[in-house]
Amino acid sequence: MPVISYREALNHAILEEMERDPDVFLMGEEVGHYQGAYKVSQGLLQRFSERRVVDTPIAEMGFAGVGVGAAMVGLRPIIEFMTFNFSLVAIDQIVNNAAKIYQMSGGQFHIPVVFRGPSGPAVQVASQHSQAFESFYCHVPGLKVVAPSTPYDAKGLLKAAIRDDNPVVFMESETLYNSTGEVPDEDYLIALGVGDIKRAGEQVTLVAWSKMIELCVEASEVLAADGIEAEIVDPRTLRPLDTEIIVNSVRKTGRCVIVEVGWPVCGFGAEIAYRVQRDCLDDLDAPVERVTSDDVPMPYAANLENEVLPQVKDVVAAVRKVLYLE
């Protein structure tokens, strides 16, 4: 199977869906002539022209709303946020319009729009550019939220998101764009709401998504060296959440550590922890642990950023804790 980057996988997903369906278009800052701030839309302008690859001024609220309006009358917009940090100036359009129109119109108008872009901290881009808002969007009924960790998942999930008739918040990771993996050439979809076991193991369940899967894989190797086999569960879609795949794993291992790159309080991991204790209380041999970034705005200095972000050693420590190894 061809090996391509996460960035290319996203690019191919958009390209294929735009070729498949003339109602699909891409809109955002620098997506066209600049080929994408992070080059995800490389070549698309040349392939589809300015009509379908639309460069916008800096007006997220405006063009996010344009996406909602266009979707209302039958188009299938892909709205790119240069990063999800900038989605906060547009969040009203996503929460109050995209997520609610289907319900408040009594089912007359559905909104097949995808809001996508990189989410989470990159490297030393400081407090206003280093945020992960999964839990904001997961809180809102009417939205679906996806956060792929591999090129294979990224392509199959983005294609499914574009074909979905509901608004989908598709959160990528800038720090994964260059990561590579096997991706088949042929057309395939990954159903939203279906998780995936990234590594099988018996002693502890690690739940993570997006960039944090890498961290868990590294940690699992360190743990394996000590004879501890961790199972890594990647929900891939955060809303709707594949609770079953998590619960089944925890029923087996009796221990659960949730790893997320964002802030601890009201992070999506809290929701997962709630569900795990709800459905597996009797199976739990230890409290559900969480590994998150520190509860602070992200500092700029590299050394401090490392202290704030979840590290392999933090995951290892959390696992040893739920195993009562210290």
Binding site: G65, G69, G106
Partner: protein, 333 residues
């Protein structure tokens, strides 16, 4: 601060000559909206309608005159004060009243209520309750028309109090930059809730918002439904033929409070009385008689048919079954 030049409507144009065949149906629509909202106010007082109820009484000439310019497949996007716009676009009084009553037979199946009437059938893209938030949506519908070259036009209504917020400003900026076939219609009713123009606008001419974007603009009084129709028609034609948007400001007045819960203490009785002399419905009726050679009988017939239509709508709403399904419309399968 606003210079005195800004606060006047220039130039005070004379009313349009009356063509009876044209004015009579517009009069009927305005009257139906008036009676429908009076009935809604009554039902609200009786506790049969809940939540917020924003009446457009006094402003009927704008939605009626403007939407009369549109063929059925053009789009309309409005605010929470949208009963009249929905009716003018073709949504039945029955569907509107049943929605206010929260009934299954309502336009939005009782899920939206007064502020969120939607109707796919008539391309009424809905009423929205976050100020400014619907303006980009209107630009989006117009974007789709340009994308498909389907020659449709979108009308977007909003109040003068909504002309400062980001959603509005970004929405019109994108429409101007991309040449989207949309007409932005500001219903300047002098107040944003309890806030008069001079406390919300540095320049009390909302149409000047168009200058920064090189957008066409117009500005006139909303008491004559025929004037509204003529002037909006120009903007609609511009949108359809050249794809260019227009920002139109229409000066008007709401006779009632902001919503049913607003006693409107911020206005003097004199002011309200003065504006009531410019009631667009009474004005149209008077002119039908004086200039349109319409007979009292004719007009009484119209009034009777409107009365019957609204009575039927109320009965329909009263008798319809309560809304029941709120789980099927969160996600589309």
């Amino acid at each position: 601060m606003a210079s005195s030049a800004d606060v006047r409507v220039e130039p005070a144009t004379p009313p349009e000559p009356v063509i009876k065949e044209e004015l009579l149906p517009l009069f009927r629509q305005m009257l139906a909206i008036r009676r429908m909202e009076e009935a809604a106010a009554k039902a609200y007082a009786q506790g049969k309608i809940g939540g917020f109820l924003h009446l457009i009484i006094g402003q009927e000439a704008i939605c009626v005159g403007a939407i009369a310019c549109l063929p059925p497949n053009d789009y309309v996007v409005a605010t929470y004060r949208e009963h009249g716009h929905a009716y003018a676009k073709g949504v039945s009084a029955r569907a509107i009243m049943a929605e206010l009553y929260g009934k299954r037979t309502g336009a939005s199946k009782g899920l939206g209520g007064s502020m969120h009437i939607f109707d796919r059938e008539t391309n009424f893209l809905g009423g929205y309750a976050i100020v400014g938030g619907h303006v980009p949506i209107a630009a989006g519908a117009a974007f789709a028309s340009k994308y498909r070259s389907d020659k449709r036009v979108t009308l977007c209504f909003f109040g003068e109090g909504s002309a400062t917020i980001g959603g509005f400003q970004e929405g019109i900026a994108l429409a101007a930059l991309w040449n989207l076939p949309v007409v932005f219609i500001c219903e300047n009713n002098q107040y944003s809730m309890g806030t008069p123009l001079y406390r919300s606008l540095a320049v009390e001419d909302v149409s000047m918002r168009a200058l920064a974007h090189g957008m066409a603009r117009d500005r006139f009084d909303g008491d004559d439904v025929l004037r509204v129709k003529r002037r909006i028609q120009t903007a609609v034609d511009r949108a359809r033929e050249t794809g260019e948007p227009t920002l139109v400001e229409v000066r008007t007045y709401r006779f009632r409070g902001h919503s049913m819960s607003d006693p409107g203490l911020y206005r003097t009785r004199e002011e309200v009385v003065e504006w009531r002399t410019r009631d667009p419905v009474a004005f149209a009726r008077r002119r039908l008689v004086e200039e349109g050679s319409a007979s009292e009988e004719e007009l009484e017939e119209v009034e009777a048919s409107v009365k019957a239509e609204i009575a039927d709508a109320v009965r329909f709403a009263e008798e319809s079954a309560a809304a029941d399904d709120y789980l099927s419309y969160v996600y589309k399968e």
